[in-house]
């Protein structure tokens, strides 16, 4: 398709008027917003129980990862979506400002390794079901949100974002790992190592 025609179709589509929902959608939404301050988020309700269930299996996988120069637990703090987690990451970043380029490179490498592992084991793992599937979808959506911020030209807090991305990928790996192990007939796939 020629670029001229592509632009023309894009212009025609963008010129279509915005649609409006038929009724008042704000009022029912507002009614659901108020209680949210006093109960855990949907992510925690669905994802955390499943992630915790997979944690024992995932721990093996994560512990096998070669240690980075910073403690591995820092990445897990970054994985938390809580305010405390964010503050801890910020404190860590301030303390390691001098080493930030190295830290950033380590996080990016770990992110790539986790993605590669997820891609490769995904081919062998049985499809996730039920709560695990919902948790995995939630984590993938959250990774997408981190990626939106990482794609922005202004990344003032890139290490914190990469840390969060790695943490989410580790959560996903923990879920996938237990599933992968089950698909392998319960035999521990000791050859798998994220590095």
């Amino acid at each position: 398709m020629s670029s001229a025609n592509r632009v023309t179709l894009g212009e025609a589509l963008r010129a279509l008027p915005l649609a409006a929902p038929p009724g008042d959608e704000w009022t029912p939404l507002r009614e659901r917003l108020q209680p949210l301050h006093t109960r855990p988020s949907a992510w925690r309700r669905y994802a955390l129980p499943a992630a915790l269930a997979a944690a024992l299996a995932g721990a093996f996988l994560i512990l096998r990862t070669p240690p980075a120069s910073a403690p591995a637990t820092v990445a897990h703090v970054g994985a938390s979506s809580s305010t405390n987690g964010t503050q801890a990451v910020q404190l860590h970043n301030a303390q390691n400002a001098a080493n930030q380029p190295d830290r950033l490179a380590q996080l990016q490498q770990r992110s790539q390794a986790l993605e590669r592992w997820l891609r490769e084991t995904g081919r062998d793992a049985a499809p996730l079901q039920g709560q695990d599937l919902a948790a995995a979808a939630e984590i993938e959506n959250l990774i997408g949100l981190v990626d939106v911020e990482l794609a922005a030209p202004r990344q003032t807090r890139a290490p914190a974002l990469w840390q969060r991305r790695v943490g989410l990928l580790e959560d996903l790996a923990a879920l996938r790992y237990s599933n992968y192990r089950l698909a392998a007939g319960g035999q521990l796939a000791a050859s798998w190592q994220i590095d």
Partner: protein, 198 residues
């Protein structure tokens, strides 16, 4: 992202407004809701092709935006972050429906193979005709067209979001473009020399 996008989402918000929402201020969130209601609903409607499903997607996307706003760090514009949530909500519904198992018969279609210099019928179609033609496309094909042309996502970004390959996104774009062309210009005028003589 492609820089040519003029998405209706591109509304800048004061940082103070977002901070108020992070502190649980629902009145501040209502301001955000009012500004983005139509862009979110329109995106969902174009992708899903169903007003009721689009309403649900609007509701859930806004709810998640409120729930997750503490995770928004402000490196990217808020509208891009919210749009990602809206797209995910619509895609989640598409995956749950039959429409997501789109035929792969066009997977090998190269978009360049469909290039031609014929006048584009959508240039002359009014909004109603174009909307009717869009509505006849499979949901996934229509979604790719919309995400690419209107929201300015790249094929790689669309592929990631849909958990498909880049070539899938390209083929859906080519297929959708060809189908739209056929729907809007179904019967090209016969050349006079081919008309039967009396």
């Amino acid at each position: 992202m492609q820089m040519v996008s003029t998405s209706a989402f591109q509304i800048d918000l004061p940082a103070a407004l977002i901070e108020r929402v992070k502190n649980g201020d629902t009145a501040a969130f209502e301001q955000i809701y009012r500004r983005f209601e139509r862009p979110v609903y329109t995106l969902a409607l174009r992708m899903l092709g169903d007003a009721e499903a689009a309403r649900d997607a609007l509701h859930d996307a806004m709810l998640k935006a409120f729930q997750r706003i503490a995770q928004y760090r402000g490196d990217a514009p808020f509208w891009a972050w919210l749009r990602q949530i809206a797209m995910n909500e619509a895609l989640m519904r598409l995956r749950g429906g039959e429409g997501f198992t789109v035929s792969m018969e066009s997977a090998g279609v190269n978009s360049d193979a469909l290039a031609d210099d014929a006048p584009a019928p959508w240039a002359h179609a009014d909004a109603r005709m174009l909307e009717q033609a869009l509505a006849q496309l499979p949901a996934v094909t229509r979604s790719v067209l919309w995400l690419y042309h209107v929201e300015g996502f790249t094929h790689a970004e669309i592929a990631t979001a849909m958990r498909k390959s880049t070539s899938f996104s390209k083929s859906q774009l080519a297929r959708g473009t060809a189908r739209l062309r056929a729907l809007l210009d179904p019967e090209p005028e016969a050349l006079p020399c081919l008309l039967p003589t009396a």
